[in-house]
Symmetry: C2
């Protein structure tokens, strides 16, 4: 993409409404625009990151055996009356009446609707296990939305729902999703720690929040430092092996880790004092097992091997991709701006043409653009005539992993300068070596 044809509205001033660094940087980097309290447009750069985040989530959901569907944003109130949550949910639910005076709502979550889909089609234990997920906009009418997309009202959520014949099957499904979450956050450049958590309005008896540590975290968390060095399962992990899944989950739930609500001082004191880590955390994922809480009242039953009807045992598994963007920035930035992990960077590299119109600079820039594109690295080329300082500041702000600077002096001696955004390391290299370095990623 050429910057001269792109829409990248950077802000020079620090927006005063932004209290945390990710909100500030997303506004300054032209990623989002607020349209109402807690409701945002994603501008082109923000949308590219969101799509990359969703791609990683989707790949790991699919790998774990979950199947993607897409449920609507608007739901009939009657479904929620079946589970009794319509009255329980409170003011966070955005309630709507249509032209025929029917009660609708903007889905804050989808347990009821997915249970309705399940009961309509699935009748036998032979069709289990089943895990259906979707990535769809949700609305929760927070009293005080804040921190940009970190706590918005309209937000994107990946929510998966597992259906099994019994507790044992449901626990295996829970374990698969647990491992999928570990892998997802790792690929997004985040160190996540699964913590025992409260189940809240979803209900159930088993729940973990996946927390990343960050000073701006909304809640206090307590964990063993051992988590900081634990290795996340690799790409060869076998999601179809229940024992392997269970042993990974056991390993990741043995050291102490709990959110504020679930914190137990006497358990905590069993951890060596030097290993106790008390910090602020950001919730980036939340998984629940809740058994028959919805299947029983809603009649989602299957015929078991015994010929009898069994209400299915269910779990649900949420990740907020819009919130994840903010969490990634909280975890990866410096004074000059964002530092994107390669997996989610909106473009793979920046090409900064220092003198557009100069034949040599244009030729070098175009050549690098073409070579990077052909190698699958989508570059953003700054072909504008802004002054050098502004160009460098803009590229540091938007935080692409690499910057290739093409100037007249370099062109004269057949080199360009590449800079690694994370390390700040700069090198003068020939075009081909520069491209090779960027494609190789190191």
């Amino acid at each position: 993409m050429r910057l001269s044809r792109y829409f990248l509205p950077l802000l020079k001033e620090n927006p005063k409404e932004a209290e945390i660094v990710s909100h500030r940087l997303m506004l300054r980097a032209g990623m989002i625009r607020q349209q109402a309290a807690g409701i945002y447009s994603l501008l082109p750069l923000g949308l590219r990151v969101l799509e990359n985040v969703c791609r990683v989530i989707r790949e790991e959901q699919n790998r774990s055996g979950a199947i993607e569907i897409l449920m609507p944003t608007i739901q009939p109130a009657d479904l929620w009356r079946e589970s009794s949550r319509y009255d329980d949910y409170g003011k966070e639910m955005l309630r709507i009446t249509d032209r025929h005076e029917r009660d609708l709502l903007y889905g804050p979550t989808n347990e009821e609707m997915v249970t309705d889909i399940f009961r309509s089609y699935v009748k036998s234990y032979k069709d289990l296990p089943l895990n259906l997920y979707h990535i769809q906009w949700k609305f929760r009418d927070e009293v005080r939305p804040r921190f940009g997309v970190m706590r918005g009202r309209e937000f994107l959520m990946k929510d998966a729902y597992s259906f099994d014949l019994d507790y044992e099957g449901a626990k295996a499904a829970y374990n698969r999703m647990f491992v999928a979450y570990l892998r997802t956050f790792e690929r997004l450049g985040l160190k996540s720690i699964p913590m025992r958590a409260d189940t809240g309005p979803i209900g159930g008896d088993l729940s973990h929040e996946f927390i990343i540590l960050a000073e701006t975290g909304e809640s206090q968390v307590f964990c063993d430092r051992a988590y900081l060095d634990m290795e996340v399962p690799g790409i060869d992990v076998d999601f179809r092996n229940d024992e392997e899944m269970a042993s990974i989950v056991e390993k990741w739930t043995t050291p102490y880790a709990a959110t504020d609500e679930m914190h137990d001082e006497s358990d905590w004191s069993k951890t060596d004092e030097s290993d106790r880590l008390s910090a602020r955390g950001i919730e980036v994922g939340h998984i629940f097992h809740f058994g028959t809480k919805y299947s029983e009242p809603m009649g989602a039953t299957v015929t078991g091997p015994d010929g009898k009807q069994h209400p299915v045992s269910m779990g649900s598994y949420g990740i907020g991709p819009t919130r994840l963007i903010a969490a990634i920035i909280e975890a990866s930035h410096d004074d000059n701006g964002i530092i994107w992990p390669e997996s989610v960077a909106p473009f793979g590299a920046a090409i900064v043409n220092m003198k557009p119109g100069d034949r040599g600079c244009d030729e070098f820039s175009d050549s690098i653009y073409e070579k990077l594109s052909n190698a699958g690295i989508d570059p953003l080329m700054d072909d504008t005539d802004q002054r050098a300082g502004a160009k460098f500041a803009a590229m540091d702000l938007i935080g692409l992993p690499w910057q290739v600077v093409v100037g007249p002096r370099g062109v004269a001696s057949d080199v360009v300068e590449i800079k690694n955004r994370r390390t700040g390391d700069k090198q003068e290299l020939s075009i081909d070596t520069a491209v090779h370095r960027i494609v190789g990623g190191a």
Copy 2:
């Protein structure tokens, strides 16, 4: 994907609520489930088609120079008060009040919001032309939603918005989008005819609907048969060449074509009687030029080359991807089911293992699965133990372009049978020749 692990809930009976063939086939093929009047879930097969449709739309939008953003579904009413449409829009607008008694609405379209984004950032004619699009859920509270996703209440829409300094620039933007639409529908396997159209609640003075001819079309349309043989611009068309764009649009708007509302009998009579085609049509796209209808009241102005402030000249451009799925089926099916164009097929081929558990059949099936996957053709493998007739009927119903049938007799003589879903042609071939035929697409 293995069918035994997939979620493909086919219906054996014809659903009686479905009045048109696309609605019937989408329900029978397990693509959609109705959740409320005019509100649907997309099941896995339906979602795959939707994603393919969106991919084609996106590629052609990007090719034409439009830039993708993503605006929220919920909008503040105040924006619509600025354009005076809040009161004008009527009961189709889903109006919502939040917990703080603020007026919101579920966006039926986005002229106001995108104009707000524009005016917040763009100040100079030098930043034009600009065309921003998004693909987002819309809600229109139709009195009588019907025909499945053809006329739903919650539906996906790609809407693009162009901003230019003057009418000449806006006309060039209109032309680019006109050509992008011709290419988009062609790639989706549809023969679309641009017709002069009424501008309705969007407003403006220049508008075309893109219509495909189908017996189940909702409106009567009139056009010259010449359209049926006209060639759509190829991939080498230059969207940056305004003259080339204008000449294509001229060619495609010269023969008579009009929807019922715009039909003019005396103009129509100038077309040779033998060339006059009066038929039912389905609207699959609608483009508008409306100049300063929104930019003037909302203060979206730029500094011109003359140093003065000019309200920008705008157009908007809509395609409904969910509706397109239905339109494609209306245009491409037979008595046995859907016939997907390759560009949107949910899987590239079906592999029907006639005897799962038989070592030879399993080996052949797995080998074909792997070879097709490696060649970028995503296959669906029926590894279930249903009877042969049910397997064949299911695969015809879901309409993948190719079926590869692996049976014990074929395995014994080292062949499989491939069937082209569209032509019905069957051939016995070796595995490698079969894969080659499918990958080659003919």
